[in-house]
């Protein structure tokens, strides 16, 4: 593949700028909130920790966790979205649109209601299963047509599957009224009030999946030439697709288990990244990850500040930003595919 020098420049520039934005957003995310903490205190909390300073304690106990979760979720959802869009050749593919989020959510709430699963690792595994089941159903439904995977069929199937899972979830919640308020926030997606030990059991899987996703960049580039070409070039397309599928399930299912259903990040981020650096998945995947983390951090900061002292679920923020973008892609994408 011939890379022009300007392209390479753009990639490194993008990476550099994004890292800068990412670090800034992380610090802001730690410092801003119900009580704003000056950046110098943030610095001290890490390097000159003083347990008698409440602000430093807040940072170490709650803010830092929240920031870490936002970073993890943002990264996972964006990479999952990029992989899904590549795998299905569908500009509208994303975990939430595929119904993967709703599937994971349904399985988790059902296991808690009917089988009294309480443990976090239990939630996590069930979230993985739910994500996988929903994803496979929608993928199959979307690829039934004569012309193979059609973007619109997938979106429709995803909408139907989501509606099904969400209404069952809501039904279970109505049966269990005490839980509505606590689960509602989760249903809308949130990174607030999570304990670090909620993230820890999921983290190895997500990290593993992220690392694996960095390795599939090259085969994915080949796969984008089409299955036949890729096979002729000696690529085991079935294996690559399977690995990508597993990565998606771990990333999306894990995210839902930790933060509930956060929409649109997985849809929007890969598009913007592709628009800036071009169609090379070795770069798209990592840069989407960093960009997604940055974007979710910003959305989370906005969610905290917009109706302070109360908080908005972060899923609401991402939907507010993401819908216009979805409509833009829908208009553009549908025109192209006739």
């Amino acid at each position: 593949m011939i890379k022009s020098i300007t392209n390479r420049h753009i990639r490194w520039m993008t990476l550099f700028v994004l890292l800068l934005l990412f670090v800034t957003a992380s610090f802001l995310s730690i410092s801003l909130g119900k009580t704003s903490i000056p950046l110098s205190t943030v610095w001290d909390a890490f390097f000159h920790y003083d347990p008698s300073d409440t602000n430093q304690v807040i940072i170490r106990t709650s803010r830092l966790t929240r920031t870490l979760i936002a970073i993890t979720i943002g990264t996972s959802l964006s990479i999952a979205g990029a992989l899904m869009q590549a795998l299905t050749r569908n500009p509208l593919a994303a975990p939430d649109i595929f119904g993967v989020n709703a599937g994971a959510l349904f399985f988790i709430v059902a296991s808690a209601t009917f089988f009294s699963v309480e443990s976090l690792s239990g939630y996590m595994w069930i979230g993985f299963i739910g994500a996988g089941v929903a994803g496979v159903i929608v993928y199959l439904l979307g690829s039934m047509g004569e012309d193979g995977l059609s973007p619109i069929r997938i979106v429709l199937a995803g909408a139907a599957i989501s509606a099904l899972f969400i209404s069952f979830t809501q039904g279970m919640l109505v049966l269990d009224e005490q839980r509505i308020q606590s689960v509602l926030f989760w249903l809308a997606g949130s990174v607030a009030g999570r304990e670090l030990n909620l993230l820890l059991p999921v983290l190895p899987f997500i990290l593993g999946a992220i690392i694996l996703s960095l390795l599939v960049g090259k085969p994915l580039n080949i796969l984008m030439f089409g299955d036949d070409v890729a096979k002729n070039l000696g690529l085991n397309t079935g294996l690559v697709k399977l690995v990508i599928g597993i990565i998606i399930v771990f990333l999306a299912g894990g995210s839902v288990a930790v933060a509930g259903s956060i929409g649109f990040i997985g849809l929007v981020v890969p598009h913007i990244v592709k628009g800036i650096i071009g169609p090379n998945y070795q770069w798209i995947l990592p840069i989407s990850g960093i960009f997604g983390a940055t974007l979710l951090l910003c959305a989370d900061i906005a969610a905290r500040l917009i109706i302070a002292p109360q908080e908005m679920p972060i899923g609401v923020m991402t939907a507010l930003f993401g819908t216009p973008f979805f409509i833009y892609i829908a208009r553009k994408g549908v025109k192209k595919s006739g």
Binding site: A160, I161, G171, V174, L175, I327
Partner: protein, 346 residues
Amino acid sequence: MGDFYTIRSKNDKFSMKFHKKSLFILICLLLLTVVVFIISLSAGSSYIPVGAVFQELISESDHTFILNELRMPRVIMGFLVGAGLGVSGLILQGVIRNPLGSPDIIGVTGGASVGAVLFMVFLLGEMSVNWLPLASIIGAAVTSAIIYLLSWSNGVTPMRLILIGIGISALTNAIVTMFMVSSESAVASKVYLWLTGSLYGSNWQEVTILLPIILTLIFFSFFFTEIVNVKQLGDDIAIGMGVRVQFFRFLLLALSVTLAGAAVSFAGGIAFVGLIAPHIARIILHKSFANLVVGSALIGSSIVMGADIIARTAFLPSDVPAGVFTAGIGAPFFIYLLYRNRKGFR
């Protein structure tokens, strides 16, 4: 052929064969609706024998309070909501000429929810509940106008309409959640119950508000019989036959949106009824619009009343929203439609 499509002269509308068949099926549907209606009155947390229900309908019985104050308004509400959604879906599918058109999928009910939730959160204390249908109709109208405009690019294609509608539904969901989270928890759980589509707590006041609205709108839709029948031949032929297509498309859409908005206003998001009822009607009835209006209304109301029976009795003592069960039937049906039309559209 044109002579047959005369408005409201049912007798000479079809060749005798079709007419008899459809009329027979319509009568069966009517009977079915009545049966479901009676069962709805008799089933519930306390079972009331069918005989007592009849007695109550004629005069008074021992169960007057339960029947008259609790069940009757609820069942009538279910009937109205189902009929409204069924006809709304029928018109919508006719207008956008796509089998997947349904007020909940393309975001009309989402918009109605926003209107209704805004009303419940901000205005319910100051204004009477009589205005709730208006609020949700306005929400539905504004949202569908936005969807229609956004789908416009050298005309509106059905698929783009549906895609944009799905996007807008996500947005309306977000807005509803936003207001729920920022309001007090008492309001929030009320809104939540409403959102899932529950007939719980329907009362006579709500019925008397909704009844005239829904019946008038369904009555109005009969006036479009001729136009819709011609329109199904395609825009070009319809224009050739002298139908002002754009104008009537707008009127029909407005009618459909108003029906959906009104139906949603008290019962909340009872999903998928607007999708399935017209489909079933089209399968079992002759495809003339007047037939289908009556058929969709009866099927829709049977579905909602039936779902509500299950919702009330299956998980006693809990009262599950009927919307959960309509989605349970509707979503698989939708998937079946996707499967059946797998060659039809992209």
